[in-house]
């Protein structure tokens, strides 16, 4: 069987949904960040597969993927700094305990 673009897109859709499930269901803030990384990863697979099959001459999608990686790195750095400062204030990183903005 020939390997097609649809294989990669289906695979990335499955991975994205798994990440979405984790990001919505996990209680630990760190676990949620890990699931966000998984979702960013699924998006990158999508972009690189499209670059390979739709624009093979100019590989445009790969540039999008590079910038997604940059933003994901910035996101995880800032996110974990926020997790650390929440931990200092509340001694927990369980997301249902963090209700500073609830009124």
């Amino acid at each position: 069987m020939e390997l097609t673009l649809n294989h990669y897109l289906t695979f990335s859709a499955v991975l994205f949904c798994m990440g979405l499930y984790g990001a919505l269901s996990k209680r630990s803030a760190i676990a949620v960040m890990m699931c966000l990384e998984l979702m960013a990863n699924a998006v990158n697979i999508n972009l690189i597969a499209l670059a390979r099959y739709v624009t093979p001459g100019t590989i445009k999608g790969q540039f999008f993927a590079i910038f997604v990686m940059v933003v994901a790195a910035a996101e995880v750095g800032l996110g974990l700094a926020i997790v650390l400062s929440i931990y200092r204030q509340k001694s927990t990183i369980e997301l249902n305990q963090v209700n500073l903005m609830k009124w």
Binding site: L15, L20, L24, A31, M69, V71, L80
Partner: protein, 161 residues
């Protein structure tokens, strides 16, 4: 043919790693399953003849992000105790994810693509030249984003005086 076999093996590793990451309640194990999943993704990029991105995936995700996650797990001391199993809202989360999958997966399987027959660029120097000519402005903006994120992370994570 061998490409297809490679794809299925790598896809099984990525999805398997992700599934184990979601399943386990020990967050350190979870981080290591994520590492395996991310490394297998680098293999998928290599299969898509994106060599530079495969290396970047290993450097940034497997190298930096996983180590950072493990550091924060250690600093917050959640590694010793198991995290609580997902509660009742996990059911709702599962339903949302399943609904999205039910929409996306059949679409992606059947999507009719009209694809050009051109040969794919595999040379990394092409990527580098385009990054420093056509994509120079986003490249410089990305460096500012990283700088601001660095300053912000230091500001948020430092000890209060």
């Amino acid at each position: 043919m061998s490409e297809t076999v490679g794809f299925y093996i790598l896809a099984a590793l990525v999805v398997g790693g992700a599934a184990m990451m979601l399943r386990t309640t020990n967050i350190v194990h979870s981080a290591f399953y994520l590492l395996g999943s991310l490394l297998a993704t680098a293999g998928v990029y290599a299969l898509l003849s994106a060599g530079f991105l495969a290396i970047m995936q290993i450097f940034i995700y497997a190298g930096a992000v996983t180590v950072l996650l493990l550091f924060v797990i250690m600093l917050t001391g959640t590694g010793v105790a198991d995290v609580e199993a997902p509660g009742t809202h996990a059911l709702a989360a599962g339903l949302v994810a399943l609904a999205l999958a039910a929409i996306l997966v059949p679409l992606q399987i059947r999507a009719p693509w009209v694809l050009p027959k051109a040969a794919v660029v595999t040379d990394t120097s092409v990527l580098g030249r385009l990054l420093f000519s056509q994509y120079l402005l986003p490249f410089e903006l990305a460096s500012i984003v990283l700088l601001v994120a660095l300053v912000g992370a230091i500001f948020l994570a430092r000890e209060e005086q």
